[in-house]
Structure formats: C-alpha cells, structure tokens
C-alpha cells in the first residue's frame, strides 16, 4: 500500500510542469492560532478526477478556498496550468478557467434557474451599462448566442421543466444540479466540486457521479472533488488524497489511500482502528 501511494505521488511530478492542471507546494494557512493547513503539497494532472477526503475540520474546504483565491496562503505557492496564481483575486482565477460549486449552495435568490445558469457565462460575455441601454442593438445578439449554449447544458442536466422557476423554490437536489450546470456553462478547464453529493440519496448520487464522468469524457475537464461518500471516491476518482488536521496522511490510488491505517485511525480513532486491524487479520 505504501508503495502504491509513493508511486502515484511521483507519477505526475515526473511529467513536464505544464502537464499539471494544479500544483500546490507547501501550502500554509492559519486562522488566528489555528493552523488549518500545515504545508500541504498537492498535484492534479490534466484530465484527472482527483478526490480530496478527510474528517470534518481537516482543512479540505480551506484548501479549495486557497486554490480559488478566497484565502491567500500564508506560505507556499499555487500554480494553475503552469501559471503562478498565489494571491490572485478570485474573479481573475475564474477567468483563467476555474469553476467551483459550494458545500452550502451559493445560488442567487430571487433569480430564475435560467438566469442563475446564464450567470455562469459571465466570463465569456462583455457586460456593460451601455450595451444594456442599447439592448436591441448591442446586447440581444450576445444574450441569444449564450442562451443557446446554456440550453445545451440545461438539456444535459435535465433541468428543462424548471428553468423559469425562481431558484429558491426548487428542492435541494435540483438546486445542486443547477449549481453544477452554472459551473459547467463557464466551460472551465478545472472544475472544483465541494461535496456535490452531500445530503443526496443513492439515486441522486449515481446521477451526479454519471454527470462528473460525462463532463470529463465529453468536455475534457479536470475535476477536483471533495467528497465524504467513500464509495463515490473509490468509484470515480483516479487518485485521492486524505487530509487530517491540515496534513496529508495518505495519497494515491483511492482504494489504497483510504485503506491506510493512518486514515482509518483519523476517521474512527486509535483504539477503534486497532480493533478494525485485528478484525481484518
């Protein structure tokens, strides 16, 4: 197990630097006296589905917030497709081809599902007050062209019958799908999903898993996913990394990584892990 993890760790590093979608080196981040991340290294290869797991409070979402520019790291560098993005503002990182969903949905209340998804096209549009004033001459053609692209994703995510509903009235499972659609219409190169399946039943989970695989196959998106459902991580991720108290405790092929004694220990405690190990032998 140790060997396979070590092998996977060296695999992406041996290829050229720009083959990496994302590369984080020695990321440190503290909140007051709390060290949420203690020198985390992380590499995501292009076209990969990478899973980040770990117990609650292990620093997973902080890691994503560092990657997307919300929390600039106290130390360490973040590189995106070979470009250093440490300390760059979130909206600039979004323009470099990063889209993300949030653990607790971040949809815009009072707007329809369609308008929410259209907002995902923002980086590809040229919004201006003058264009809005002369809507019929300037903005309309752009709006309609982007609407066509958005409708393709609406079809793909099967959201046709709710596209005109205000986003706050639809059930949570659908809201998660709308948020995914919004991230996808941005045509990102790197898609970051923060617990996309939290609170979902088996059927909904399978649906989202299918979507994630399709997104990679059809659109060649690199996907970074935080997930608590281990069955999902082992089923769809190419590689996984386990965080605990802001430190990497395992990395590599998902099944092997989450079966490491350290990981089991982090999740269920030392004594329970020992019992588990005895039961295994």
């Amino acid at each position: 197990m140790r060997a396979s993890a070590a092998h996977a760790r060296t695999a992406p590093a041996s290829t050229a630097g720009d083959e990496l979608a994302l590369s984080c080196r020695g990321i440190e981040r503290s909140f007051g006296g709390l060290r949420a991340l203690k020198g985390v290294d992380l590499d995501v290869a292009r076209g990969e589905i990478f899973g980040l797991v770990g117990p609650n409070g292990s620093g997973k979402t902080t890691m994503v917030n560092v990657m997307t520019g919300f929390y600039p790291p106290n130390a360490g560098r973040v590189r995106l497709f070979g470009q250093d993005i440490t300390g760059v503002a979130p909206h600039r990182i979004a323009r470099m081809g990063v889209a993300r969903t949030f653990q607790n949905l971040a949809l815009f209340k009072g707007m329809s599902v369609l308008d929410n998804i259209l907002l995902g096209r923002h980086v590809h549009m040229r919004p201006s007050a003058l264009a809005a004033l002369f809507y019929w001459a300037w903005a309309e053609r752009e709006e309609l062209a982007h609407r066509r692209l958005v409708e393709e994703v609406i079809d793909f995510m099967q959201l046709q019958d709710i596209r005109d509903e205000p986003v706050e009235v639809i059930p949570m499972g659908l809201q998660k799908r709308v948020e995914l659609a919004r991230a996808l219409v941005a045509e990102p190169r790197l898609l970051i999903l923060d617990e996309p399946m939290a609170g979902m039943n088996q059927e909904e989970k399978e649906y989202i898993a299918r979507f994630i695989l399709d997104a990679r196959e059809e659109r060649g998106v690199t996907i970074f996913i935080i997930e608590h459902h281990m069955d999902v991580v082992t089923a769809i991720c190419d590689r996984a990394m386990v965080l605990s108290y802001g430190e990497t405790i395992a990395e590599g092929e998902p099944k092997a990584a989450i079966a490491e004694p350290k990981v089991i220990e982090a999740y269920i405690g030392q004594r329970a892990a020992a019992r588990h190990a005895r039961a295994q032998t």
Partner: protein
C-alpha cells in the same frame, strides 16, 4: 379575464425574452405610454405642471436610485446631493455658453465622477455604515454649495437658469418642458427594463445577493459596485439638469437638501425596491398622497360640518400619510409593485386561485 397565459407559446428565445411576453401587458404598456404623450391634451395645464411634471421627474430620480438600491443592493442617503451636483454643473455650463446637449451630459458626468469618488470610499463599508457615509456626502456637498459663492451665487441667493436649446428647439413653456422630462424618463425607464435581461444587470444582482459566489463566476465585485454608483449618479445628475431647466428654472441650495434624499429613498421603498414599475408608483404616492389627503380631510370636514381646529386640520393629513406608509410597509414590505403583481397574478389564473409561480 383579460389576462391569459394559456395559448401563448413562444417559439424563439427572442420572443421569450421580450420585455412584456404577454400581449396584454404589452398593450397596457403602450396604452400608458400613449396617455403620457397625450396628457397635455387630456388634462388642464395646471395639472400638467403641478402634478404630471413632478411625477415624471421624481420617477426618473427614483429609477436612478433604484438602480443602486435594487440593482446592486447599496443604500444611498445622499441622492439629493447627486441631483444638486448635476443641476448646478449643467446650469453653470449653460451660463458659460456651453450648448445644453453637452451641458446635460456633463452634469451627469460631474455627478457620476463625484458620486463614485464618494462611492469608492463608502464601499469599503457596508449596510448602516454605508448609509452614514452617503449621509456625510449629502452634508459635505450641501456645505460646499452653500459656502462657495461661485457655485450657489452667494449667500441665500438662487441662481437663475437660462433657457436651454436642445438641438435647435428652445425648451420654453410647459409643453416642451414636459416632453423633454418625459423623454429623459423614457430613456431611463428602458435602460432599467433592459438592464435586467442583460449580462450587466445579472452580474449586479449576483453581487447584491452573494458577492463571494459572484466573484467565483468571474465578476469583479468591487468594480461592479462602483459602476453601479457611477451609473446611478449619472442618472441623478441628468435628473438634476432636467429639474433645473424644465421645472425649477432657478436653483437654490435648499431645493436639494436631505429631505429630497429621504423623499426619493421613501419613493423607492414604498414603490418596491428594485422595481421599475414600483418607482412610478412610489413617486406618485409620496408626491400626491399628502395633497389628496389634505383635500379629503378638508372635504370631510365641510361635508359633516365637523368643527376641526386649524392645527388638527393641518396635521391630520400628515398623520394619515405617515400611518399609510407604515401600513403599506407592514402589509406588503415589497412595496406597491408587489401589490400590483398580486392583483395581476390573481387575474392571470382567475377563476382559479393559485398561480403556478
């Protein structure tokens, strides 16, 4: 009834995204537009100048403030100062010989520039603190205008407004003034209607609702808030020019004090924050309710032979007016526009009781 969604199916994105997708709404909008254009023929000249003209101008101002309050979710308690800057700069420019066409835009630009300088400082704080910062702007601008004779014309003076010529047409008399104010109002109205279905308005709404989620979609939140200040102040400046050249015809500092700011904020809130239609409703209510209540109280007193003291006679309408605003806000916090919307929805599904949305 006359409202029906059944049988109306749009076959292109363009049709679906038009301003009024239902034919009845479209006809209603055209009808109201025709009424405002034909108004000088329909109503007495006194009503045109005393009621319609201020309604049109104050509605435009409310639309401008609503762009900031409803569109970007930022409060502004210094909108009167913004209007003052537009009024004084355009008047001074025309007095210096600048053509009115340029002066009105320059008035807007001056307001936009000063408004967004204050905005940039004010946007570092949120909510109540932003309200305080914009209030400070009102005081500073008031002070500067009053204290600098070069701007106000000195002391308690009022500055006479020269006659403006707009592309060869002198804006003299009530009729031309009314049509000019109406034209500005229509342009601002269409801007407000269009902005919501364009990417610009969507990004603003996103910043208003959740700025962190907007920034992850690539929206530069600070820039958009600042642009909202800019555009809103520009509209305010143009309204100031219209107010000076079409309505007041002589400007003095006391026309643009804090009470004007509060009046416009009240119009936006009572009408419905963020609503285009609500801006017109709100302006009408705040402008005319005191007058109508006053008349109603007077008539009631005469009819029933009530012996009301002069003091009560003067204050009763104000009390009713205050109570009415509180009542509206309690009954329907989303404003008059929401009440209209409820009525419209009722007819949309009549004789059934529930709308789909």
């Amino acid at each position: 009834m006359f409202y029906r969604r059944a049988g109306i199916s749009h076959t292109s994105y363009r049709q679906e995204r038009q301003l009024w997708p239902l034919p009845f709404d479209r006809r209603l909008a055209l009808f109201v537009l025709a009424l405002t254009i034909l108004a000088p023929l329909l109503v007495d000249r006194l009503y045109l100048v005393g009621y319609l003209m201020p309604w049109v101008i104050w509605s435009t101002a409310t639309l401008g403030l609503n762009f900031l309050m409803g569109g970007a979710g930022q409060i502004h308690l210094g909108y009167g100062a913004i209007i003052a800057i537009g009024a004084y700069s355009s008047v001074h420019l025309v007095r210096a010989g600048t053509p009115f066409e340029i002066a009105i835009v320059a008035g807007g630009l001056a307001s936009a520039l000063i408004g967004s300088i204050f905005g940039a400082a004010a946007l570092r704080v949120k909510g109540l603190y932003l309200a305080m910062a914009t209030l400070a702007m009102q005081s500073i601008v008031d002070f500067v205008i009053t204290q600098v004779p070069a701007i106000s014309g000195g002391g308690q003076a009022s500055l006479p407004v020269p006659t403006a010529t707009f592309f060869g047409i002198a804006i003299v008399g009530d009729l031309r003034s009314y049509y000019f104010a109406l034209a500005v109002c229509l342009i601002v109205t269409f801007f407000m209607l269009n902005v919501r279905r364009a990417s610009f308005g969507r990004a603003l709404a996103a910043v208003r609702e959740k700025d962190y989620a907007a920034s992850i979609l690539g929206v530069n939140t600070f820039r958009f808030k600042l642009v909202a200040f800019w555009v809103s102040s520009f509209i305010g400046g143009v309204v100031g020019a219209v107010l000076a050249f079409c309505y007041y015809r002589a400007v003095s500092p006391d026309q643009f004090h804090l009470d004007l700011s509060i009046q416009i904020v009240a119009m936006a809130i009572v009408g419905g924050v963020g609503s285009v239609l609500g801006s017109f409703f709100g302006a009408a209510l705040i402008l005319f309710a005191p007058i109508l209540l006053n008349q109603a109280v007077g008539q009631a007193a005469e009819m029933f032979g009530l012996a009301i003291s002069a003091d009560l006679r003067a204050h009763l309408p104000l009390m009713l007016y205050g109570g009415m605003i509180v009542g509206f806000l309690l009954w329907e916090p989303l404003g008059l526009a929401k009440i209209y919307d409820n009525v419209r929805n009722y007819f949309l599904v009549w004789p059934f009781r529930h709308a789909r949305h």
